[in-house]
């Protein structure tokens, strides 16, 4: 897509092209859950974590995972097959959320301006996954490295998320946190 938004403040903000996302809801003790997640190329994350790899799996709630995968339709079908007979929901929600990346030395500070989350390195290391809010909208945040952060939010509020992130990362707004 050519109309992906970017903003060049004291961090680089970029809207990410829509990618596959699969919602998987199941009780955490569901028989074969880890095997099913592995069956679609992912790894079951720990509590409040996101696993890395080509297929990323985010811990959304005790009974909810969000699988970021290039093949959402295939993963949804495969999860249904692997968990057949066990109470669960596998749903292709690729259209549901927008995704943004932030790059730069001050990504922690920019997110700390908008989210009531301790963004200090010890509290929020790369791989930690946190559902919270960005200003007035629900969102989820994680870092994949010290200078790269990611945010997802409902697509219906993506304009707000982008505008708000762009505003607080404008040159001149540096605070010097972290």
């Amino acid at each position: 897509m050519s109309d992906l938004r970017r903003a060049h403040g004291y961090v680089e903000l970029a809207e990410v092209a829509p990618g596959g996302m699969v919602l998987l809801r199941a009780a955490p003790d569901t028989d074969g859950l880890a095997e099913a997640v592995a069956g679609v190329g992912g790894e079951l994350p720990g509590r409040l974590r996101i696993s890395s790899g080509d297929v990323q799996v985010a811990w959304m709630a005790p009974d909810e995972l969000l699988i970021l995968t290039p093949d959402a339709h295939g993963a949804t079908v495969e999860l249904g097959r692997l968990l057949e007979g066990r109470h669960h929901l596998a749903l292709d929600v690729s259209d549901l959320r927008a995704r943004f990346t932030l790059r730069g030395a001050r990504v922690r500070e920019v997110l700390a301006k908008l989210a009531p989350v301790d963004m200090a390195p010890a509290a929020m290391p790369p791989g930690a996954f946190r559902r919270t809010r960005l200003a007035q909208i629900p969102a989820a945040l994680w870092l994949s490295g010290e200078t790269t952060a990611h945010a997802i939010c409902f697509r219906s509020v993506a304009d707000y998320a982008f505008a708000t992130l762009a505003t607080v990362s404008r040159e001149g707004g540096e605070i010097g946190l972290f």
Binding site: L48, A61, P62, E64, P116, R131, T132, R133, P138
Partner: protein, 123 residues
């Protein structure tokens, strides 16, 4: 600022991540109840100055409900506990006994160790 630890996901969440769900442990007046019982169920609330038990939802986080005990005067949080219970856990009540000797909330507190008999009838 009020911060509550969500027992579902383990996050210590700022109040702005949470949605208040009103008073805790309200037993529904069942079909056949008289008007007074229904009125108490619909409108009767404790509104205490001091120890209070509430429902909260981690709305901007894991999305799940839980219970919290706090002081409405000082905002001291005594603890949080799962939504799937009809009464506060004993260890939490003991903590409140120590922090607020003589406290009362409905039939709880002031040395009246709560009994489960009352709640068993509702199950």
């Amino acid at each position: 600022m009020l911060m509550l630890r969500c027992p579902n996901c383990g996050v210590t969440a700022d109040e702005t991540e949470l949605a208040p769900g009103g008073e805790a442990h309200i037993a529904r007046a069942a079909t056949g109840s008289d008007d007074a019982a229904f009125e108490a169920y619909m409108f009767g609330r404790e509104n205490p100055k001091g120890v209070h038990f509430e429902r909260w939802r981690h709305a901007m986080g894991c999305g799940k409900w839980f219970h919290a005990a706090r002081c409405t005067v000082t905002m001291q949080v005594f603890g949080t506990y799962p939504a799937q219970t009809l009464s506060p856990p004993d260890d939490l009540l003991e903590k409140i006994d120590a922090a607020r000797p003589g406290w009362r909330w409905r039939d709880l507190g002031a040395g009246h160790r709560h009994t489960h008999d009352h709640h068993d009838e509702e199950r």
